[in-house]
Amino acid sequence: MDIKVNVREAQADCYVVELSGEIDVYTSPKVKDAIGDLIDRGVYNLVIDLEKVRYIDSTGLGVLIGGLKRVREHGGSVNLVCTNPQIRKIFDITGLVKIFGIFENEDSAMKALV
């Protein structure tokens, strides 16, 4: 089980973090580091693409919440791309749909950022 992280600049000051695999207590530190590195570099607008994520647990949610809190301190935001019903269900159960913008594709997530 592993997580792959691909980071790319989509437009000025807006980055996309593509995640692929399973995010759990073992793999979430890798995601946290990737998001943290971007924020440390002054990137405060992020789209995190969960389309290839097959599984996420509370530690993964915690990393996303932590990232959102950090970018908000700088006036930024985090939008998610997620259409997997099982992953979406976790955001619904926890009520995190209220604090994250969740979109069906990267374009709409990016447009909502800027």
């Binding site: 089980m1 399973e22 759990d24 207590v25 073992y26 599984y55 647990d57 509370s58 530690t59 949610l61 915690g62 919440i65 932590g66 959102l68 809190k69 099982q86 976790i90 159960i93 926890t94 009520g95 995190l96 749909v97 209220k98 604090i99």
Partner: protein, 132 residues
């Protein structure tokens, strides 16, 4: 009543094995795909709680019991645990990170009980009923 026992090291890299093993048991008992996903996540959250809160525990014992109308799963550690009721509760949409795991376990399973003994570890017993 059939049982399946699994012991994993109390380390993050073994949680995937636990959740996939229990998913295989749930599949054998004819739970739906959605229910299996619920069970997988609940077991993983229970193991993660052991890793994060059970100081000194060397391993985690997971017992799956086939019961008349579903599956009962016991997760036990041997550390100095924190009673889940002492972990701050959450409100929907809460931006705090703490307590998410316990919240998910209670949301995804039909019945959840904890038994915490100081210095003897924590036992979590959760049940999922087969849908009609």
């Amino acid at each position: 009543m059939d049982t399946v026992d699994l012991r994993i090291p109390c380390k993050a890299e073994w949680v995937a094995l636990a959740r996939l093993s229990v998913a295989a048991v749930a599949s054998r008992l004819h739970f739906s795909i959605d229910e299996i996903e619920d069970i997988k996540l609940a077991v993983a959250e229970a193991c993660t709680n052991c890793i994060q809160h059970a100081d000194g525990s060397q391993h985690i014992d997971i017992k799956c019991e086939s019961i008349e109308d579903g599956l009962r799963i016991s997760v036990r550690d041997q550390g100095r645990g924190t009673h889940p009721d002492h972990i701050r509760s959450r409100e929907l949409g809460d931006e705090r990170v703490g307590g998410l795991g316990v919240f998910l376990i209670r949301s995804l399973m039909d019945h959840v009980d904890y038994d915490v003994h100081p210095d003897q570890g924590t036992l979590l017993v959760m049940t999922k009923h087969l849908s009609a």
